[in-house]
Amino acid sequence: MSAPYLGILLTAAVVGLFASAPAAVLARRIGYGIALASSLLLLAVAIATLATGPVHGIAWTGPLGDPESLQLDGLSAFFALAASLVWTATSAYSIFYDDRRSPGLAVCYGLTLGAIALLVSASSFLLFLIGWEIMTLASYGMILQATGRGDRIFSAAFVFLAFGEASTLLVLIAVAAFHVLSGGFLEGPVSGAGALTSLVFVAALLGFGLKMGVAPFHLSEWLPIAHSSAPSNASAVLSSTLTLAGAYGLFRVVSDLGSPPAWWGGLMLAIGAISVLLGALFASVSEHTKGLPAYSTIENNGLILVALGVALLAEANGLTELAVFALFAAFFQAIAHAVAKTALFLSAGYVEHATGTFDLSAVAGGAKRSDPGETEGTLVAALSLAAAPPLAGFVSEWMILESLFQSYRFSSPEAQFLGLLAGAAVALAAGLIVVAMVKFVGFALLWKPSPGATAPRAAGLGTTVGAVGGILVGLGVGAPWILKGVAPGVAAFAHAAVTAPVSGLLAVPDGWSIVSGSPFGILSPPVVPIAIGLASVVAWGYFRLGGGRRTRTVEPWMAGSAPGRPGETYTSFGYSTGIRIMLRSILRTREVRASVGPVTEAGLATPVPYNVDLEVLDVFKLFYDDLVAATAAVSDAFKVAIMPGRLGRYLAYILLVTLAVVVYVAVAA
């Protein structure tokens, strides 16, 4: 049991996050300042919780007579840690970023943070639901603060709200079923397996999956962020921590449901694998500085589901060691993604600040920015998301693939085959996401600016991005120790004592390596940078002391033409057209040509001038468009049938419905 003052600090952190909203009305910077301080406080409490044990904050009796309290156990402390890490960065960033006249963004920002903190530290599902709903509404408010075309913002925000409320509905069902199972709302393990448990699981998977933006609900993730070009601090909070809240909800419910049947894990693995592939694919062809990271979020949340799915499958197959390893992978993936994605969105905001565009093809060619930290931070974040060693994303990707490699241990051939397919999907996505990240870095950062263009300086923004990049390096290199710190979280999830899969091998000291299986695979994240560093020192020394090579600066060779003529550089669109064409059956690539202007010259080698557009299509968007059309048609028919303006028919309908309810209640009782 930890010190009671930690409970007070936890309460203070949650209250402080909420309080930043009214404070923002006075002055935006005060609001963001309070949010920053409260996030740091929450971070400290979360770390203390992981180190010392559960923390209990303020407690009271709820409206239904239920005991309610704020508390953190290992599981919630881990998610609070990840979220508050992100918020610390976004709040500091917002102080420099948000220069709007109205405090609307800052208020909604504070409310969203407070709501997420509330739902993470809630001791009961009732309080969780309250936090969940405030989060949805406040995020809706943040998206409405976007700049751009009013109708697009509104429709994007509306899509977000529609998916958000659908999610709330499903979570409500899950909580109601949970209430029937346990007789209360308190979070904690329930026993028994049956149809009701499975109902809780499926409703939770779909409800929280909606918020995580996994397939087939990925529209809820990318569309509001990309289409409305939501403010960048809001995008970071949405993509990194709102989806994290979904993951937390799923972890919490699954953790409380006890021993899972094998098909739960299988379902989760399948949804995760599809999301991973779709997210990576669409990220690689995205042209939007925020759409690309938003799609990558779908991929990463899919990876969390894959890892959790493997853990559940392993648990069902009695493979405790593999289950624990996969859980560690899922936890680490959650935090690695949240931090890296924050840096990417903050960088997108920086690019927007400097170039005034979200269009990757338009960004390259504008003014180049030179604030310290920005390029480095973004590079590190993109490398981490592309799973490059020794960064955090690499460690989590490695752990997830290691888990999938061990799917041969499953007893049923179906589960083995599913693991095989999921492994292939994850590996394929890992390749595709490299394309996406190279594109983001190449076209948002590393281009050669057109001469004369100058960018406004935005030092504070760049520094924040750089700092987040530093955290990512730390997370990756220190992964074995981070995993040890995460162990209480995994233990709280599994309701059992666990040890981190960390040891030593060969010359690597004990505790420096991550080991899967016993041992199946081994990776030492700290040794990678040491090896890279040593090799660099050798190379540096050779060139420095040997003096044999000198740096020669030359103009890029353009096959004999003068380089750098306008219109002769590769566009970001062109960079991924190969994927558009190769995977046209999945992407539904379509070329639209429209001729422009009259034909003046009859020269036969001179085709008519035309406009060309290569469009890709998300088949799921088609599905939702059809769904919307069908719903509209059905409700229209309903309206015409029931309410054609004749009172008699309407009254008859009301009577019939009332009768049906009475009969149902009578039979059910």
Binding site: T571, G574, L604, P607, N611
Partner: protein, 435 residues
């Protein structure tokens, strides 16, 4: 001036309204234009109005777009991908500007002018034999065709009779060079398809032909061999025997290689339906030579506008209808076999008199002559005015110049990786385009 099957109209550079007699190639720099009416088997040569008697085609500046205008393609993410003028794939200095949104070719503009030596201007005022030395250096691998066409035009301008034996020597040189060019083009395509063994063997065959040319004509590219006073008299009975024997071996070896190449699925697959050119667009874009014949139009100057000795020879007309890179290569392969048959006929009918023209002692009347020759890559036309034994005006329309628009048209909607297969199947030469 009317020749067998084709007529010449001078002094008109207005547009041609008749859709069938489409513009073959026209730039704004005063080049010749040749209109082919394949239905009536007629061609009309139009020489542009040239201000001043001595003015000829001027050299285009590098970087300009003298060859063909590109489609103005706009749209999200489109850009111009510059390829060349110095590149690993194209053996000459020449540039292509590819309009694309990545991967797919939306429009292609060949940009010439990097190899301009202004041959047509530099020969003005030179005696015919000296001018020929420069004309044959227009493009080494097409020297025999260029110099034969030039000499025929000059002789027609002067009204000079040419001994049959000399015409036979020119035909011999042209057919040998046709063999070499087609073999070279097949090797290039094999290289693009990474058929390395085939590439090496076909290249070796090409080298054998070059050496044969060197041993008979004294120069690998036959430079100087066909000119008045040149060493053409060396083609004696012993030479012909040697040639006949060597060509028999080359033909047998080529047949084996050719069947092996066509049996390779990777080779054929890569060419099939690559850079297709329909019959209509081949005619419309003014394509000539094997390109035209691969698209289903049976036109060959050796048949349609023959000059001696082709008037007396059997010339077969290989034809394909698919119009893709494979069809163009198949036509070339078949023409190699056809040329071997022509060469056999040449040796069989070789004239007994071995006299060779000497340079004219007294210049014959000034005049203008037009000659047309089927070069390995298509229809080549020379328009020469000679006075006092010296070249006073020279214009030519090279087959490459005629084929660029067809190449650009065939590349529409191709992908980048199709480029080399398409380019090599057309057999385009920047050197003779730039002049």
């Amino acid at each position: 001036m009317t020749r067998a099957g084709w007529e010449v109209e001078a002094g008109d550079d207005g547009p041609v309204e008749d859709g069938k007699r489409a513009l073959a190639y026209r730039a704004d720099d005063g080049a010749l234009a040749l209109y082919n009416d394949y239905d009536r088997g007629r061609s009309i040569l139009r020489t542009p109005k040239i201000p001043g008697t001595w003015s000829v085609r001027t050299a285009p500046a590098p970087g300009a777009h003298p060859l063909a205008a590109a489609a103005e393609v706009a749209g999200y993410g489109t850009f111009t991908f510059p390829y060349g003028p110095i590149s690993a794939g194209v053996p000459e200095a020449g540039k292509f500007e590819v309009r694309t949104y990545g991967e797919r070719v939306l429009g292609l503009v060949p940009v010439g002018g990097f190899k301009t030596r202004s041959v047509a201007t530099s020969v003005l005022g030179l005696p015919v034999a000296d001018a020929g030395l420069r004309v044959e250096r227009m493009a080494g691998n097409l020297s025999a065709s260029h110099v034969s066409a030039f000499l025929a035009a000059a002789e027609s301008a002067e009204g000079r009779p040419v001994p049959t034996a000399e015409l036979y020597v020119r035909a011999l040189a042209q057919e040998l060079q046709r063999l070499y060019n087609h073999v070279r083009q097949i090797a290039r395509v094999a290289e693009a398809a990474a058929q390395n063994v085939g590439l090496a063997q076909v290249h070796a065959l090409g080298e054998e032909i070059l050496r044969l040319q060197g041993s008979v004509f004294g120069h690998r590219w036959m430079f100087g061999a066909l000119l008045p006073g040149g060493p053409a008299r060396r083609v004696d009975a012993a030479d012909r025997d040697r040639l006949e024997h060597a060509l028999g071996g080359i033909g047998a070896e080529f047949d084996v290689l050719w069947s092996l190449l066509l049996e390779s699925r990777t080779f054929v697959d890569r060419l099939q339906s690559t850079a297709p050119l329909s019959k209509e667009s081949a005619i419309a874009s003014g394509a000539v030579g094997p390109t035209l014949r691969a698209s289903g139009v049976g036109w060959d100057d050796r048949l349609r506008a023959p000059t001696p000795p082709y008037t007396d020879l059997f010339v077969s007309l290989p034809n394909e209808t698919a119009g893709d890179a494979l069809a163009r290569i198949l036509v070339r392969g078949a023409e190699i076999q056809a040329s071997l048959v022509i060469l056999e006929q040449l040796f069989d009918r070789w004239p007994t008199e071995e006299s060779i023209t000497e340079p004219a002692e007294s210049p014959v009347g000034p005049g203008r002559g037009i000659a047309r020759v089927e070069a390995p890559n298509g229809d080549l036309v020379y328009d020469v005015t000679v006075a006092d034994g010296r070249v006073r005006r020279l214009q030519f329309r090279s087959p490459s110049a005629a084929n660029w628009p067809a190449f650009a048209a065939s590349m529409q909607d191709a992908v980048f990786t199709d480029f080399h297969f398409a380019f090599e199947s057309f057999g385009l030469v920047f050197a003779e385009t730039d002049g």
